[in-house]
């Protein structure tokens, strides 16, 4: 069997597995967030927090909960790294410097997991498991919570109430993420991922002498890293490291973990708004974009355009033999179309067009299927905009799921889609214009520009993968990517929750013959078109300077 056919079969197996769990996982999550009963351990947790889980919140109250929890999380993670030098279980690593601690704290709390450090050289057991891995769980749970609040905005009428943030946070963590991670973690260990608490130790080598290993709770962190679309690797090489991703099977399994919650959330959405067909329409949009990008990526990587890759006879630079070109291409698209940013191969050494696809994937706003929660709410915002465009075309007041899309709703949706492009373009331009930041580029010319554009695209979209040639561990990049991550995460959340609040207050308008049927393929087509046009118009000039220039030159 040739590698291309094997890659196609892997893709089909992946689709089959995702389809198999779509309904059960989606229904289960809907039950979790709609349930009126609390587990005993949850009651105990609510008592410790001092929150009433049954108290409904308006959108400002919900937002305050999100912001307070996230602010405390940033501070806690910052202090944990600053104090690493004096904490036990730190493998004698010293405390992390202020700029890098700030960057890393923000990075993990915003579900970005951009890493300007090498895990095996910087972070001990305590920071990795009690700091970074915890944020892998809760930042994902916060993302799902905000998405669920928006869905409630569509589902509810004549009320300002969007649910309870503390309850959504705790349930998402305890009932969804933890059980799935335990199963996934054990499967990863069974395939060879490591899971121990040994320190740095010497291991013998074939030719004599020894090599030093760094142990750690890797499999448990790997599981939630993919499931929560986080992406922060235990080791510098992330999921390319054999201890994180040991075999071709674990590679496919990790791709599955990345995609399972974001795709299944469309089912949760359908169930909660009382019309699963609406969920299918959103799902179809996500799948269309995801499949299209994956096929494009496979084509360009198997064709291995690019002088050095042509000389080598294949696009294997930065890729592992056990994954090959096929497995690496599927992973690269999945990780950048979600907000994961884990890598099993290094995007900087992809073909020029392949690198461009990873960048474009993130620029779409990570909505196909997107991050845990953030993918669904991002896609629903695009649906609102698509409905609005359709309304303009036929001269009718636009409505979506029985809710009118009026001036206020459109302003919020427009603000949402303007945030990330503004951050990406302004920060990239500043980094090119100022005298010192360009020194961080590894490659020169179009590819060097791509490194910077990629960094801010990744940070602002909360992806976290890197065109790793860029030396991002400078005060400028640590601070500026930190700001981009903060603003790129929380500004959109404000607009989403405000939108949810204003939708929930509305009285539903009855469906008439003139209503746009948003569960039909026509709407899916319209939505795909709107997404591609808006992203294309925003980023085309920047892409032309970087990956397109490189791709066309070779």
């Amino acid at each position: 069997m040739g590698p291309v056919l094997a890659a196609v079969l892997q893709l089909l197996a992946l689709i089959g597995a995702l389809a198999l769990v779509y309904v059960p996982v989606g229904n289960y999550m809907a039950r979790v967030y709609e349930s009126r009963t609390h587990l005993r351990v949850e009651k105990w947790i609510y008592k410790a927090i001092g929150a009433d889980p049954d108290a409904e919140m308006t959108w400002p109250a919900y937002l305050r909960g999100v912001l307070a929890f996230s602010a405390v999380s940033v501070l806690f993670l910052y202090l944990l790294q600053r104090l690493q030098g004096v904490l036990p279980g730190s493998l004698h690593f010293s405390s992390v410097n202020p700029a890098q601690s700030f960057n890393t704290a923000v990075s993990f709390v915003t579900n970005t997991n951009w890493q300007s450090y090498s895990g095996e050289q910087t972070m001990g057991h305590v920071v990795q498991t009690a700091g970074l891995a915890v944020q892998n769980f809760v930042s994902a749970a916060v993302g799902i919570a905000v998405a669920v609040a928006l869905v409630r905005g569509f589902a509810r009428s004549r009320t300002g109430e969007l649910g309870n943030f503390w309850s959504d946070l705790v349930r998402g963590t305890l009932r969804v993420l933890v059980p799935m991670s335990v199963v996934a973690g054990v499967i990863l260990v069974a395939c060879g991922a490591i899971q121990n608490f040994s320190g740095i130790h010497e291991v013998g080598q074939f030719m004599g002498g020894s090599q030093q290993w760094n142990g750690g709770a890797v499999a448990s962190q790997e599981a939630i890293k993919e499931l929560g679309t986080n992406g922060g690797g235990y080791f510098n090489a992330n999921s390319a490291h054999p201890f994180e991703n040991p075999t071709g099977f674990t590679n496919l399994f990790e791709i599955f973990l990345i995609l399972v919650i974001p795709f299944s959330l469309t089912r949760t959405f359908g169930v909660m708004v009382g019309n699963v067909k609406q969920g299918y329409a959103i799902l179809a949009t996500m799948v269309t974009i995801w499949l299209g990008f994956t096929v494009l990526m496979m084509w360009t990587e198997f064709a291995h355009h690019g002088p050095a890759l042509q000389a080598a006879g294949g696009a294997m630079e930065g890729k592992e033999v056990r994954f090959g070109v096929g497995g690496s291409s599927i992973f690269a698209v999945a990780t950048t179309l979600t907000s994961t940013g884990a890598v099993d191969s290094f995007h900087s050494s992809f073909t020029g067009l392949g690198g461009g696809i990873t960048m474009l994937s993130m620029m779409l706003g990570e909505i196909a299927p997107g991050g845990t929660g953030s993918g669904l709410y991002g896609m629903l915002i695009m649906a609102v905009i698509a409905v609005f465009i359709a309304g303009l075309m036929v001269g009718r007041t636009p409505e979506y799921l029985g809710k009118k899309i009026g001036g206020r709703e459109m302003k919020l949706a427009a603000c949402y889609i303007l945030v990330t492009p503004a951050l990406v373009l302004v920060f990239t331009a500043a980094s090119m214009a100022l005298p010192t930041p360009p020194h961080s580029m590894l490659n020169s010319g179009a590819h060097g520009f791509s490194e910077v554009l990629y960094a801010f695209t990744s940070a602002s979209n909360n992806n976290g993968s890197a065109f790793a040639g860029l030396n991002a561990n400078t005060d400028w990049y640590n601070t500026m990517t930190g700001l981009a991550m903060l603003l790129g995460r929380f500004l959109p959340m404000i607009f989403v929750l405000a939108l949810a609040g204003s939708l929930a207050e509305q009285t539903p308008v009855p469906e008439t013959a003139g209503t746009l049927r948003t569960e039909k393929p026509l709407f899916t087509g319209l939505l795909v078109g709107a997404i591609l046009i808006i992203t294309g118009l925003t980023y085309f000039p920047a892409l032309a300077l970087g990956p397109l220039a490189e791709g066309l030159a070779s």
């Binding site: 929150a51 090498s118 891995a133 630079e317 690198g355």
Partner: protein
């Protein structure tokens, strides 16, 4: 005003308590449970899949090693020991002050771009130093030279891509079956074995795709060299 400050403090307090409780669950209990299960059921794998040969640990089946001659005087990088099968180039690890190659397993890729070192869209005959073109062409020349033995000539076009490119982790434990096959004549000659015997060894050590389509066919270099050592010892 006073009221809103109190409310903010109360809210931050709730956030902190929520974080601490969830840290206990996801940062302490969760990793301990997974570690417990892992250590009980998959002890060897959870601890890094160590391999023993002749009663001593010789590394992990998952982590690549170098098979080099000892450093000669004045050398900065060692020459490969051509008796043994060689793994992929690992230029991403590079020499640095903290680590020597494979000493502390620092992982990493070169991150060089596909057009690194190219002039007008092709790799020139003499590409600039430290570019991907330079690394690929130098690696290819070395593979051709090292593996061409009397009666067996390697042409540049025969060299597979994984033999001249660095992996993502820099720790790739495997090579493609094609690269292993290409080394068979050299290894047989250097060890005084028959080509057929070494070829048989490579075939035995070649792992196909899982279920026939997941991953890529590969040969684990450490396991292959251990088997080779046994073959040499037993001949």
């Amino acid at each position: 005003m006073n009221n809103s400050v109190t409310n903010t403090v109360r809210l931050l307090g709730a956030g902190l308590r929520a974080l601490l409780v969830l840290t206990l669950v996801t940062g302490v209990i969760y990793p301990l449970v997974v570690t417990g299960v892992a250590q009980a059921l998959f002890n060897n794998k959870a601890n890094g899949s160590e391999i023993k040969a002749d009663g001593r640990v010789v590394g992990s089946s998952l982590i690549g090693q170098s098979y080099n001659l000892p450093l000669k005087k004045g050398q900065t990088s060692a020459d490969p020991d051509l008796k043994w099968f060689q793994g992929r180039p690992q230029n991403g690890l590079g020499p640095n002050t903290v680590n020597t190659r494979y000493s502390l397993i620092l992982s990493g890729a070169t991150n060089l771009s596909a057009d690194s070192g190219a002039v007008k869209g092709v790799c020139p005959a003499q590409p600039a130093d430290k570019t991907l073109c330079a690394q690929v062409l130098a690696a290819r020349d070395a593979v051709v030279k090292d593996n061409t033995v009397p009666g067996y000539t390697v042409r540049p076009a025969d060299v597979p891509a994984d033999a001249v490119t660095s992996s993502g982790s820099g720790l790739d434990p495997a090579i493609s079956p094609e690269y292993a096959e290409l080394q068979v004549h050299r290894v047989a000659a250097k060890n005084g074995l028959s080509v057929a015997a070494v070829d048989k060894l490579v075939k035995e050590q070649t792992q196909g795709r899982t279920l026939g389509f997941i991953g890529e066919p590969q040969v684990n270099v450490l396991e292959l060299n251990i088997a080779l050592k046994d073959l040499v010892a037993g001949k």
